[in-house]
Each structure stands twice: as structure tokens, then as C-alpha cells.
């Protein structure tokens, strides 16, 4: 246990609380080349003796075939790579296997076949001790119905993971209080979970999952059990926290709007398989399957699509004048797009370099809906 880093040092890596409020830096450092989690051909099949059917998994049996042999495939042949600092949202309707997938990634359940590599190590091959050590040092998880311990006060709940790894009481209480302040629950530390509202309980869950300074943060439908107003508030809160942290995030939701709002990349699941895994814009603009298209049809594209995505090479377009920022959505730019007279508007990245030109007519079409 002595080899553990002192968790209190996290506070030094965080920006001061006031700096994080309101403004959310969108440009988190994502390193695609260095996967934190990689899974290959992941299968999770429920039923009697699924190992018997394992040999047949190579030929990719359909859900129907499996059902006939009395098995249910909750995760079907999923391969994903999640880069350091990335936030992947796994989206799917209930029963699509998204919760099972995240439980495979955290090895709360064992996979039927396939490999999961976390930070270069196959977690399927880890012993129980190694797995516990990994969870104590690198993982945090938030649950849909909170999973709080009813007999412990708020602060003892948050300190629980620290208690598990054997930290002394005063250190872990200090750390837990710090986390409670971070999620805005200062003053409620001696309450019991049942004395809090749903939103507050989930704040406790979030504080607990962050107490160990996890490098990988799993969130399993964290806001689904909350009512819409609180959900929105918690999403804002989450974006604020995300801006302050640099960990890798796997976020599960059944709410497509939530996914669009929060994600770097979205993986859409259906019947246990990933239909498409891409950036929100590309999912909206070029859905890979009919199923994905059905989801995206009702989405207001202008809220998702950024100027950069519509930019074409600037040469020959004659775009000049005041550029727009690449990271802004068309909705952000709506007033300018409608009132500007230029045919092409230059698009500039964060450093001010022009990276392309925005076809104003296309942008107007997207804003108002495609012409018939």
C-alpha cells in the first residue's frame, strides 16, 4: 500500500475552483496514439454453458441463432480503442448491452471471449489481488441508482474507497471533504444518503468515484434516474468537472441528446454490437446504418455541427474578412451566417490560422433544414 501516490496531491493538479466555473475548455488533450483501454472482439453471452458455443463465435452467429440455443448475447464482437484523456459515450436503448459492456471493461463481470487491455495489461488475466489493486489506484465508477452505502454518512461513503486501500482516518476524511466541496455538497457531510435528494445522492456517487483520483472514470447512466431539470443541471456540473480533470471517461447513456452534448466520440450500440463509433458530428452528418440514421433524424444538426466540419479548402473560394472559430457550432454562428453577405466565410482554428472556408449557403441550409 505504501507505493500508492498520495491522493491529496490531486488538488494541486486541479485548477482553482473558481477558474473552472462556467467556462468549459473544450480542447482536452486527447492522445489517440496511446490507448488506455483497448478491447478486441469482445463477447459476453449469458446462458448455460456459453463456453460450448465459444468455438462458433468466430463465425459470428446472429442474435437469432444464439437465442435458439438458449443464450443471450449482451455484447457481440465489440472492438473499441479509447485514447488517453478521451471521453467516449456509449449510447443505446435499454437492452442494447451498454451496461454489460462497461461492466466488462471494469471486469465487474467476466467476458465470454475477447481481450481487454487496460494500460497495456490484459485485465482478463489479472488475479483478484491485481484487479483489486487496479481498482484502488486507477478506476472510479458512478452508478445509475447511485450504489451508496445506506449505513454510512455522506463523508464516510466518499471515503470508502480510501478506507479500502487502508488509508488512515484523518487523511481520508480530509480528502473526502475536499471532494465534497468539489461537487458542491459542503455542509452535508454528516447526512445519510436517504436524507438527500436524488441529484445530491449522485453528487456523492461522483465524489466517491473521484476520491481515488482515477485515471479511468466509468459512468453508468449517471443521470438517468434523475428528473429532467436536475439532469440538465448535473450535465452542466459534469462538464465543469470534466474540464478540470484529465482522465479517460467512459460514459453510458440511453439519451442521445445527452450523448451529443457531452461526448468526444459516441459509440452507438444495438443488440450488443456497436453500430457506429465516431465523433458526434460525423454520426449526425453521415450515419453508418439505418438504425443510427433513425436516431439522428430528429436531431437539430446546427447544434452539433461545428464550423470546422463544414470547412472546405479555402483556395479559390475567395473567402476573406473576419474569420469564425472552428470550434463553434452553426447554432452559435446562426446570426452571423444569416446576416453575412459573403458566399464563403474563412474558418480559423484556436491559434487564429485559417484552416478553410465555410460555404454560407450550405450552412444556411443546415440551419433551416435541408431544402426539399
Amino acid at each position: 500500500m505504501n507505493a500508492l501516490p498520495d491522493p491529496v496531491t490531486l488538488s494541486t493538479t486541479l485548477p482553482p475552483l473558481s477558474a473552472g466555473w462556467g467556462t468549459v475548455p473544450k480542447d482536452r488533450h486527447v492522445n489517440e496514439a496511446e490507448p488506455v483501454i483497448a478491447c478486441r472482439n469482445l463477447w459476453k453471452v449469458f446462458g448455460d454453458r456459453p463456453d460450448r458455443i465459444l468455438s462458433r463465435l468466430n463465425c459470428n452467429p446472429s442474435a437469432e441463432e444464439l437465442r435458439q440455443s438458449g443464450l443471450i448475447a449482451a455484447v457481440r464482437d465489440v472492438s473499441l480503442t479509447i485514447g488517453r484523456g478521451e471521453m467516449l459515450v456509449v449510447m443505446g436503448l435499454s437492452g442494447s448491452g451498454k451496461s454489460t459492456l462497461v461492466r466488462c471493461l471494469s471486469r465487474l463481470i467476466d467476458v465470454t471471449s475477447g481481450a481487454i487491455i487496460v494500460e497495456g495489461r490484459d485485465i482478463g488475466a489479472m488475479t483478484e489481488t491485481e484487479l483489486i489493486d487496479l481498482r484502488r489506484r486507477k478506476m472510479g465508477m458512478v452508478f445509475q441508482s447511485f450504489g451508496l452505502l445506506p449505513h454510512r454518512t455522506v463523508v464516510d461513503n466518499v471515503a470508502f474507497p480510501l478506507e479500502m486501500r487502508g488509508q488512515d482516518r484523518s487523511t481520508r476524511i480530509a480528502r473526502a471533504m475536499e471532494m465534497l466541496e468539489l461537487v458542491g455538497l459542503k455542509g452535508r457531510e454528516s447526512y445519510f444518503p436517504r436524507e438527500l435528494s436524488g441529484g445530491q445522492q449522485q453528487r456523492v456517487g461522483i465524489a466517491r468515484s473521484l476520491a481515488v483520483e482515477p485515471e479511468i472514470w466509468f459512468l453508468d447512466e449517471p443521470f438517468s434516474a434523475l428528473d429532467p431539470l436536475i439532469r440538465r443541471e448535473m450535465q452542466d456540473e459534469f462538464l465543469r468537472l470534466k474540464g478540470m480533470l484529465s482522465n479517460t471517461i467512459v460514459f453510458i447513456t440511453h439519451d442521445f441528446d445527452e450523448a451529443l452534448r457531452l461526448a468526444d466520440r459516441i459509440a452507438i450500440m444495438k443488440d450488443g454490437a456497436v453500430e457506429q463509433c465516431d465523433t458526434p458530428e460525423r454520426i449526425v452528418m453521415s450515419p453508418a446504418t439505418e438504425y443510427v440514421a433513425k436516431f439522428t433524424s430528429a436531431v437539430d444538426r446546427s447544434r452539433v455541427v461545428r464550423a470546422a466540419a463544414l470547412a472546405i479548402p479555402a483556395e479559390g473560394t475567395g473567402a476573406e474578412g473576419q474569420p469564425v472559430a472552428a470550434g463553434q457550432t452553426l447554432r452559435d454562428l446562426a446570426r452571423l451566417i444569416v446576416s453575412d453577405s459573403r458566399a464563403f466565410i474563412p474558418v480559423a482554428d484556436a491559434q487564429g490560422h485559417v484552416i478553410g472556408a465555410l460555404d454560407r449557403q450550405r450552412a444556411v441550409d443546415l440551419l433551416l433544414g435541408e431544402p426539399a
Binding site: 445509475q144 445506506p150 479500502m164
Partner: protein, 641 residues
């Protein structure tokens, strides 16, 4: 029920009817179990026990365990009623115990519980029953922790290992349907008689519900809580001790409540194996027909039962409450300080005046004399009625029915049961029925068993005739339903022994008294489940039928009763179980059934015979349990809730 199933079932019933019709011309082997069928189970069990005792030296082990038990009992006996043993501190003055109980009640459930707990001990003291009540309590105090610890341990093991659970389950089923006396006989053989034997039999008797509740509680822990524990990096041991067991707290404490109640029931009955205390007094007084004193002791037992039940339930339901930070130590421990103050005060009182240490018998407020006198007047006034009732019931109902049950050919009974089994659950249930009832025929106690069956049948029938209308009446108004349910709850906490007091008072010692006491005991679950069944009918279904223009009677007949029936049958099931237990207990006021034989086995410490009789009773109960649960499960499923 499928058509094929119905055909087989009717076929079996028709065959049984044919056997009954042709009884006179049947070979005797079909009327009574033939000699070759009766196996000497009792001898085998006795041989096995002799082997355990003499060859395996189990005796030394049990003696060692009983020595531990005796040491613990000596401590509580010294503290509670001043037995001259280590630690030589007692007796604690009754006034100190009463205020302590009151404080516990206040801490757990406010003023009302404080009054109940404190009042109970004040009553015991001023009525001059302190010594007896403390003898009883000292055993409960020792037995409960052992039972809880054993139950928790076995519960966790069963939860961990499926194989162990599969092994444990049938044992628990049988253990929970064995009558109290069946437990006593082996204990008498291995331990002897007296308080330590009582403590051990109490522990054995009260462990099963604790195991069940532990298992249930551990299973009910929400998966996300367990997962959050795992993701916090908890090891298996940490997960069990810091996540699962604390989260299952309420269910486990309900288990503790059941342990306490079972302990009280058993300790009272353990008077049959020489346990002093309230039970023994009650037994002696009842046999001497001293009604006044019996009623007083009965009230004490009832008060103790209600108090222990309410206290332990309040403990189970109590949720932690937070203190605001910055509250001073004195504020946070206010109750503790008040308690210490009260203890100091009462101790001072006790030191000043011996009345507050122990109330002497001659100072007691016992009103047994006047009560006896007025009871005599009352009973004399009632005599014409009770005499006639007794004569009528015995001559025209009970004896003819008993003779009818005894007259039935045993083959016909088995066929009938198989037919019922087949109708309820197909071939499997038919075989289960036979597997439970055939051994009874083979045990050689067929006639005795049929007398037990007849008493249970009559009692449950009467209980249904009283309980269902009472339940329907109660369910009509929500307030009335709540009150009646509360009453049923309270009645169910009473040790069964208590129910004998009023019936012996009214009817004396005979079959009518037995049936009457069993009826009283068995009606309670019927009322209870009838109310719960009716209240459980979804209100929108009732509203829909009112809007269809159904009258109240029509709603009751066509909607509420059919939908409540599965729940009501669960009540009937419990009623049968209670009747079986009660019929056996009632043996000591004179029956000729299995219970009487069990009493004989107890007094001659015949383990084999006692266990055979115990199994016979358990098998009857388990068969009814199987049939009813099977039926009501199927019915629930087909109703879709």
C-alpha cells in the same frame, strides 16, 4: 390445470371413493398399513443415537458445550435474580432494570415504547413474579446471541456456497415444521433437564429463521451497491463485512426479532423439560386450574412478548440520523447521560428501601383471589352454555368425525392425497404427497396420525368459517383493517401456550378445549391474510368494476375474492402449520393423537419414538405447504401479479 391432469386427478379420487365404498369387503391390508409395511424407524434412530453417544463420544462434546452454556447462564442468573454464582453482583434491583428498559424503549421508539418496556417490568415486579420472569429472561438473554451468531454464520455460508444451501434447505424446511417437543427429546438425552437444556433446545429451535433472514437479506443487497464496493477496491472480506452485511441490516435484524420471539415461545414450553420460570408456573397453575394466577402470568408472558417484539422491530426499522457538526458531546449523548442519572437514582432508592430491590410475594399486588372468585361466578353462569356446547360438540360433531377419519381405509387416504397432488401440480406433486404421507403409514402411528389430521381439519375449517368473514368485515374500511392487522400482529407474537388459558377456563380439559384453543390460534393468520389479500387487489380493478355497475356484493364475489384467493390460501397454509403445532402442544390437556405419544416419548426420553413422531407431524405440514404454495404460485402467475 390441463385436461389430462384433471382426468388423472379425478381418476385417483374416484378410485379412493371406490375404496371407501367397498371398505367392508376390502382386505385388511388396504384398511390399515399391513405389518410388513411398518418399519422400525424408531429403533434405527435409537441405534444411530446410541452410536453417536457411546461410540463417537458425542456426549463429551455436548457436555462441553453445555458447560459453556451453564457458565453463561450462571452470569445472567446472578445478575437478574441473584443466583449465588460469579460475578456475585446481582441481583440488579428491579427498579434499575425497569428504567433501563424504559430508556431502551425511548431511544428506539419514543414515549409509547418507553411506557411499554418500562411498564412491563414494573408490572412483573409489583405482581410478585420477578423471580420467575427473570429465570425465563436469563435463558433468553443467553440463547439469543448464540442463535444470532450461529444463524448469521450459517446464513453467510449458505449464501457463499450453493452446495451448502442445497444441503441446508431441506433441513431447514423440516426443522421449521417439527413440533417443539421433537427438539426436546434428543436434548434431554444428551444434556439432561433444567435451564441449560432449555437454553440449548431454544438455540436449536430459533436458529432456522435467522439463517433464512440472513440469506434473504444478503440476496437483497442491490447489485449496484455491491458493484460500487467492488469498484472501490474492496476485497471479498471487506465486501462482506462492510458492504453486504451492513446493507442487509434491516433483514438481519428482522431475523433477530424472529429469534427473540422463537426463544420466548420455546423457553416457556421448555417447562416440560424442567425449565423453571414463567412457563413452569403457568403449567402447574393450569393443571391445578388456578385461573386467577394463570391469567396474571399469562399477562406477563404476553407483555414480555409484545415488548420484545416491538423493541426488536423498532431496532430493525430504526434508521441512522445525523448530528449537525459542532454539537457538543453532552448533546450527542444526552440519552446515555439521562439513563446513567436514572440508574443512579433508582440504585439510591433501592439502597434506601428494599421494596425497590425485590417486591416480596406478600407485598405483591396480585389480585388472584378476587379474580378467582369472580371467575368462579362467571364460569358458573356460563356453565349451562359451555356444558351444552361441550356435550353437543363432543357427541354430535367431534366423536363422529374422529371415528369417520379413523374408519377411512389408509389406501383410500393415500389415493385421495395423490389425486389432490396431481390436480395441483401433476405427477411431481402427487409423488411429493405420497413421499410425505407414506412414511407416516410406515411408521406404525397411522391411527394417532389420523386423530391429529382430524383435529387439524376441524380446527382449520372452523378457523376459516370465522376468519374469512372477519377478514372481509375488517377489509371493508381502511382504519378497521389497520386496527385488525395490528391486533393480529400482536396475537401472533404470543407464545402458543397462552391460548390454552381461556379455553381451559371455559371448557376444562377435553377435546373441545383442544379444538377451541387451536381454532383461536389458527384463526389469526386467516384473518390477517384475508385482509391483506383484499387490500392487495389493485384499486383500479375495483374502480373499473364499480363503473361497470357491479354492486358491492358482486364486486366481492366476482372481483375481490377471486383475486385475493391466492393470498388467502397462504393464510390457510400458515393456519395449518399453527394448528399442527398447537394440537401437539395441547396434548398435555388430554388428546389421544401424536402429541400424547410425543409427551410419553419425552417423559421416557425415547429419542427414536420422539423423532419419528416429530417427522410425522413435520411431513404432514410440509405436504400441505407444498400443495398450497404450488397452487397459489401457479394462480399468482396466471393472474399476472
Amino acid at each position: 390445470m390441463t385436461a389430462g391432469q384433471a382426468r388423472v386427478a379425478w381418476g385417483l379420487v374416484a378410485l379412493a371413493a371406490a375404496l371407501v365404498m367397498l371398505r367392508e369387503s376390502l382386505p385388511s391390508g388396504l384398511v390399515r398399513p399391513p405389518e410388513w409395511m411398518v418399519l422400525p424407524f424408531a429403533d434405527w434412530i435409537n441405534a444411530a443415537f446410541a452410536f453417536l453417544r457411546d461410540d463417537l463420544g458425542l456426549m463429551t462434546l455436548t457436555r462441553a458445550f453445555s458447560d459453556v452454556m451453564e457458565a453463561c447462564l450462571d452470569v445472567t442468573a446472578n445478575l437478574l435474580y441473584g443466583k449465588n454464582r460469579w460475578p456475585h453482583l446481582g441481583p440488579i434491583p428491579w427498579s434499575v432494570i425497569a428504567v433501563s428498559a424504559g430508556m431502551v424503549g425511548f431511544a428506539l421508539g419514543g414515549w409509547r415504547l418507553a411506557a411499554l418496556a418500562g411498564g412491563t417490568f414494573v408490572w412483573i415486579a409489583v405482581m410478585g413474579q420477578w423471580q420467575w420472569a427473570m429465570e425465563t429472561l436469563s435463558v433468553i438473554l443467553v440463547a439469543t446471541p448464540f442463535s444470532v451468531a450461529l444463524g448469521l454464520g450459517f446464513g453467510v455460508l449458505a449464501w457463499r456456497s450453493q452446495a451448502f444451501e442445497r444441503l441446508l434447505n431441506p433441513i431447514l424446511n423440516i426443522a421449521q415444521s417439527m413440533p417443539h417437543f421433537a427438539y426436546m427429546i434428543p436434548v434431554v438425552v444428551f444434556i439432561g433437564v433444567g435451564p441449560k437444556a432449555a437454553a440449548i433446545v431454544t438455540i436449536i429451535f430459533s436458529v432456522p429463521p435467522m439463517i433464512r433472514m440472513t440469506l434473504l437479506g444478503l440476496r437483497k443487497v442491490p447489485p449496484e451497491v455491491v458493484e460500487s464496493g467492488k469498484m472501490s477496491g474492496a476485497t471479498r472480506w471487506q465486501l462482506l463485512t462492510r458492504v453486504r452485511i451492513p446493507t442487509a441490516r434491516t433483514d438481519i435484524l428482522i431475523g433477530v426479532n424472529q429469534v427473540v420471539m422463537q426463544c420466548l415461545a420455546m423457553v416457556v414450553l421448555a417447562s416440560f423439560i424442567g425449565m423453571p420460570g414463567l412457563g413452569q408456573k403457568l403449567l402447574q397453575l393450569l393443571q391445578a386450574l388456578k385461573i386467577g394466577l394463570s391469567i396474571e402470568i399469562g399477562i406477563t408472558i404476553v407483555l414480555l412478548a409484545v415488548m420484545l417484539d416491538r423493541l426488536s422491530k423498532a431496532w430493525a426499522m430504526k434508521q441512522p440520523v445525523h448530528h449537525m457538526p459542532g454539537v457538543r458531546w453532552i448533546e450527542r449523548h444526552r440519552l446515555l447521560l439521562i439513563w446513567l442519572g436514572l440508574v443512579a437514582l433508582t440504585s439510591a432508592l433501592a439502597w434506601l428501601h428494599p421494596y425497590f430491590i425485590e417486591v416480596e410475594r406478600k407485598q405483591a399486588l396480585s389480585m388472584a383471589g378476587p379474580v378467582d372468585a369472580s371467575m368462579k361466578v362467571f364460569i358458573r353462569a356460563m356453565t349451562p352454555v359451555t356444558e351444552w356446547l361441550r356435550w353437543f360438540l363432543i357427541t354430535w360433531v367431534l366423536i363422529p368425525l374422529r371415528d369417520a377419519f379413523l374408519w377411512l381405509p389408509f389406501a383410500a387416504v393415500l389415493l385421495l392425497l395423490a389425486g389432490i397432488g396431481w390436480a395441483v401440480g401433476g405427477r411431481r406433486s402427487a409423488l411429493v404427497c405420497l413421499a410425505f404421507f407414506l412414511p407416516i403409514a410406515m411408521s406404525g402411528w397411522w391411527d394417532r396420525a389420523m386423530i391429529t389430521v382430524y383435529m387439524v381439519c376441524v380446527s382449520v375449517l372452523v378457523a376459516v368459517l370465522i376468519g374469512v368473514p372477519a377478514g372481509l368485515w375488517g377489509a371493508a374500511r381502511p382504519v378497521r383493517a389497520a386496527r385488525l392487522l395490528f391486533l393480529c400482529d400482536t396475537f401472533q407474537t404470543f407464545p402458543s401456550f397462552i391460548y390454552l388459558i381461556p379455553v381451559v377456563m371455559l371448557f376444562g380439559v377435553n377435546d373441545v378445549a383442544v379444538v377451541a384453543s387451536v381454532v383461536v390460534f389458527a384463526t389469526v393468520p386467516i384473518i390477517r391474510y384475508t385482509i391483506e389479500g383484499i387490500l392487495g387487489v389493485p384499486p383500479e380493478i375495483v374502480e373499473a368494476s364499480s363503473m361497470s355497475g357491479a354492486t358491492r356484493g358482486q364486486i366481492m364475489r366476482h372481483v375481490q375474492l377471486p383475486l385475493a384467493l391466492p393470498t388467502m390460501m397462504v393464510g390457510a397454509n400458515q393456519s395449518v402449520m399453527f394448528s399442527l403445532f398447537m394440537v401437539i402442544i395441547a396434548a398435555f390437556i388430554g388428546t389421544q393423537d401424536l402429541g400424547q405419544e410425543m409427551q410419553r416419548a419425552l417423559s421416557s426420553t425415547d429419542v427414536g419414538k420422539g423423532l419419528v413422531l416429530g417427522f410425522a407431524v413435520a411431513f404432514m405440514g410440509l405436504m400441505v405447504d407444498h400443495l398450497i404454495l404450488r397452487w397459489s404460485d401457479g394462480r399468482h402467475r396466471s393472474l399476472g401479479f
